[in-house]
């Protein structure tokens, strides 16, 4: 079973990549309000129990996939 982990910079933390990408887009005439850059991690987990897969994805996300000081994460079943 595949679970997607979306890792984004925390709102209150400066998103340096987002700022750089946003500025380039603007300089090239693109219209946008804001831009954030995060990471997407796809976990292929054994078994078919969605609840168990979610639980183990959560455990992995908290173990290493995100840094709670600067990032938040969301899980989604794929």
């Amino acid at each position: 079973m595949k679970i997607g982990v979306k890792v984004m910079p925390r709102q209150e933390v400066l998103d340096t990549q987002g700022r750089a990408v946003e500025n380039t887009l603007r300089q090239n005439g693109k219209q946008l309000n804001a831009c954030q850059v995060g990471r997407y991690v796809v976990l292929d987990l054994p078994g078919n129990d969605e609840a168990a897969a979610m639980a183990s994805a959560k455990e992995m996300a908290e173990f290493v996939l995100h840094n709670p000081l600067i990032e938040t994460y969301q899980l989604e079943k794929l």
Binding site: T16, Q17, A20, V21, T24, Q27, N28, V37
Partner: protein, 210 residues
Amino acid sequence: MSVGVLRFPGTNCDRDVFEALEGAGRKPEWLWHADQFDSRKHEALFLPGGFSYGDYLRSGALAARAPAMKSVREAAERGVPVLGICNGFQILCEAGLLPGALVRNRGLRFIDDWVSLRSVNKHAQFARAGGSARLPIAHADGRFVVSDDELKKLQDRGQIWWQYESNPNGAAHDIAGVMNEKKNVAALMPHPERAMHAWMGGTDGVGFFE
């Protein structure tokens, strides 16, 4: 005619390349990323190393979309020699002016070291002598990747410029530098501008600026 040296936000080897060109008796001239320029006015173009746009998104990706790159493309099509060094290599790949892409080093760490290189094919303008060279490297995204088909084409057409004697970053086929099909656009990961005098640790970079 002058040699154009491109400056992007975050380019940091710009002055080093500028001075290397001056030292070699060339007439360098700054070219600003935000401005297009007359592609007929320069005998050669240099894209120095550094961290354009902080290497954000992908190394070279944001710089490759800058207005000045439109003029670089024109110049390249016109046959003007274009040399990319380190981040300049990454920008030229992102701009599609050179084949392949440069991704994170095999060890996932920045590498600062000296490497030995061998010239596979010579370039008509840059480092004409070819042979071997010992130059510094300093990069995090220096692993050259290319599809097998494309690699075969590069070999067949003589587009491989330099290979590492001992591969530091996992680059495909030990590739340290490549050329385009027309052989006017070329780039390498090592920094020749950092090997211009014996006190720097070597003088093998001199040939790239003559």
